[in-house]
């Protein structure tokens, strides 16, 4: 969305808010300010390499999801005299983001949506430790952020890698496809995803028959690592799991495995926080609203995480009838806190690591096959805690 469009949109929102505010239910005007923080140059939002030169949709920043959240927040609060504002701030690196937080705080903003890769998110969270802010991690899936790198002021609305790989593992167990061949790319995220999947396999009793590293290359001297037939031959398995942060090799894999088997992980069946094809629990209405707002772009998991963070803020402000940060913060931390995430079971925060526990969708390129926790995966407190790091295993100490 261009800046002009965006301004037009905000103007429209303000107009709508003003009109709604005219209702009799209006209390004294209360305002809650939120700032979205992103990196100026962020490799994650470069067009997919495999699609260069083709007119496919490029990945976009979850700022759009936050904008939808802003609209929803104002629809919610507008009828009750509470309005919301969203600023967009970009910086070059973690230090820049920390400085931006300081600057926004000086203007009265205490709530932030952080859209950055894992290491940057960890650095920003560490540098703002002890500050009276709410920092919503809407992008980084790294398990470390829910473990050793967790911070009391940070809440993760994006699912962790452990939650995502647990969802996949549950699906394989449910189908009795227990033998998995793992293919792991060279990137740091690939290593993290592979580690999470290995842990999930162990947790749910899957058997990893082999784990092989791949690289994208045509070099015949590197055949053992770049040839799909060699990479997927020589062992028997039910599915192939691939961790490929670049995404191109994962696109190559289905239909080219040596055995006629299904692919999961970075292509084939993927575990996601959100998918545009999700049809249940009011999701189509959300996806449609997003599609309209984002000028025909599809709502991503990042958009979902940013959108739901805004909704969490709105819920807290409306329920406490307040724009006061301390009250909003306390509301979010209540043990009874829960929020509808349009995925069936209501979501809530795990008190031991501030992760939003939520159903995980299992999706192909164009359909949602299931939503974890799958039937039969039980937990004494909530079945949502069969996904991700449970309290006894947590290494997070605030």
């Amino acid at each position: 969305m261009t800046e002009r469009l965006r301004q037009g949109f905000v103007a429209l929102l303000l107009l709508a808010a003003a009109l709604l505010g005219a209702g009799p239910a209006r209390a004294a005007g209360k305002m809650v300010s939120v700032a979205y923080l992103g990196l100026v140059h962020d490799a994650r939002y470069q067009p997919l390499l495999a699609y260069h030169g083709l007119n496919f949709e490029s990945p976009h920043r979850p700022y759009l999801g936050a904008l939808l959240g802003l609209k929803d927040a104002n629809d919610f609060g507008g009828l009750l005299g509470i309005s919301f504002r969203l600023a967009k701030v970009e910086a070059k690196d973690a230090a820049g983001l920390v400085a931006a937080i300081g600057a926004e705080k000086a203007k009265g903003t205490r709530i932030f949506l952080l859209d950055a890769p894992g290491p940057v998110t960890a650095a920003v969270a560490k540098a703002t430790r002890g500050q009276h802010i709410l920092l919503f991690n809407v992008a980084a899936r790294s398990d470390a952020l829910r473990g050793p790198a967790c911070q009391r002021q940070m809440f993760d609305t994006i699912p962790s890698r452990a939650m995502l790989s647990d969802a996949l593992a549950q699906y394989l167990v449910a189908r009795k496809w227990r033998r998995v061949l793992m293919l792991v790319g060279p990137g740091p995220q690939d290593a993290e995803n592979a580690a999470a999947f290995r842990a999930s396999a162990h947790k749910f009793g899957l058997r990893v028959v082999a784990e092989r590293k791949f690289i994208i290359s045509e070099d015949p001297r590197n055949r053992a690592r770049n040839n799909l037939a060699l990479l997927t031959g020589g062992v028997n398995y039910d599915t192939v799991y691939i961790a490929d942060q670049e995404g191109e090799y994962a696109l190559e894999l289905p239909y080219q495995t040596q055995l006629p088997r299904l692919v999961i992980g970075s292509s084939g069946l993927r575990a996601v926080a959100w998918h545009w094809a999700w049809q249940r629990f009011g999701a189509p209405q959300v996806t449609r609203r997003f599609w309209r707002l984002a000028k025909a772009q599809r709502m991503t998991s990042g958009d979902f995480a940013a959108w739901i963070a805004m909704k969490i803020v709105a819920l807290a402000a409306v329920r406490t009838h307040s724009g006061d940060f301390a009250k909003i913060d306390a509301y979010v931390r209540r043990p009874s806190f829960q929020i509808d995430v349009y995925k069936g079971l209501p979501a809530s925060f795990r008190p031991w690591d501030n992760q939003l526990r939520q159903p995980i969708l299992l999706a192909t390129h164009a359909w949602v096959i299931g939503a974890a926790p799958l039937p039969g995966f039980l937990h004494p407190v909530t079945n949502l805690d069969t996904l991700g790091i449970d309290k006894p295993q947590s290494t997070c100490h605030f």
């Binding site: 709604l20 449609r288 829960q338 069936g344």
Partner: protein, 329 residues
């Protein structure tokens, strides 16, 4: 014997209440089920439950309402942005309202047959259609994802449940003016008014309970909670509700828990849980209140309950994703 007397008393009370009944022919007994994904209405014989007809409609048929004479059935077809009008005798679509009715989810006809009240889901609006002038006369912004329209006794106000913003918006009719907004627990869905008009029940799907709202002060005075054995709190997602005219018993469909709760409407305690199909959704009573029909959104069938014995009698396959039931009786 006692229950027979109760029934007589109930029927007399109902006849006294239901003004338009005078103008209404004896019902056909037909049961109409809207199939959300089937783009159709399944019509069942009211006695044998045999399938009489499947009427193709616009896409996403959900809310249904009869005109007061029960000669026409209005069907909200959200994805086709239209309201289909079905002739109850011929079981054919005889007309469509297509202007100014975007993504309509629920429709209610007022007792004078003058106005059609509806919710427009994706527009976060409630609107009023003048059936005589054949045009929209009010279009009011309400909370997000508005669902149910509840017309108050006396037809002076409508209550709208806005699912995504946890609120009930109260509008004057026919002006459509927003009078008041009250907050409920999370994801309000359906309404049921106690026969003495003292309490309004509002099912709150995500909160997993039913808010009991004092109908005068509009404050939440009680919350009905559910605890069927073997379920966690977050698996309880109440949607459909109905209260018997004797004011003693209420039925609440519990969604994910695949059960309908039988609630003592005086003590507000659950007396029994009845097993249904998957994701029971709406509850509709027959006019004589001997039976309740429950649509099961995720097993493409409806469950029939005997309200005297509070037992499940049978289930009847219908179309894809049954949403609601309405009975011409």
């Amino acid at each position: 014997m006692k229950s027979w007397k109760n029934w007589l008393a109930g029927a007399a009370f109902a006849a006294a209440l239901a003004l338009p009944a005078a103008a209404r022919a004896a019902g056909t007994g037909l049961i109409f089920v809207s199939n959300e994904k089937g783009a159709s209405i399944t019509v069942l014989n009211g006695k044998t439950y045999r399938r009489v007809a499947v009427i193709p409609t616009g896409n996403l048929p959900r809310g249904m309402a009869f005109n007061p004479a029960h000669t026409l059935l209005y069907v909200a077809c959200g994805d086709s942005n239209e309201i289909d009008i079905i002739d109850v005798k011929t079981l054919k679509v005889v007309g469509r309202i297509t202007k100014g009715v975007p993504d309509v989810e629920q429709v209610v006809v007022d007792p004078t047959d003058h106005y059609l009240y509806m919710t427009n889901e994706n527009n976060s609006a409630a609107s009023i259609y003048d059936l005589k002038a054949k045009k929209i006369i009010a279009f009011t912004r309400v909370g997000e994802d508005p669902e149910m329209v509840f017309l108050t006794p006396g037809a002076k106000r409508i209550f709208i449940s806005a699912e995504s913003t946890d609120m009930v918006n109260i509008l004057a009719v026919p002006s459509g003016k927003l009078l008041q907004t009250i907050l409920t627990d999370q994801r309000p869905r359906r309404f049921a008014l106690t026969p003495d008009h003292r309490f309004l029940w509002v099912s709150c799907e995500i909160a997993g309970l039913v808010d009991v709202i004092d109908f005068k002060t509009l404050k939440i005075v009680h919350r009905i909670r559910f605890a069927p054995e073997g379920f966690q709190k977050d698996q309880l997602s109440p949607v459909g509700i109905a209260i018997l005219r004797d004011g003693k018993t209420g039925y609440v469909a519990l969604g994910h828990a695949d059960r309908v709760a039988v609630v003592n409407a005086k003590t507000l305690k659950v007396e029994k849980y009845l097993l249904t199909g998957h994701r029971p959704w709406m509850v509709t009573l027959t006019h004589n209140e001997h039976r309740a029909f429950v649509t099961n959104g995720e097993s493409d069938d409806i469950t029939v309950l005997n309200t005297r014995t509070n037992r499940v009698i049978r289930s009847i396959p219908v179309g894809r994703y049954p949403y609601g039931v309405i009975i011409d009786d």
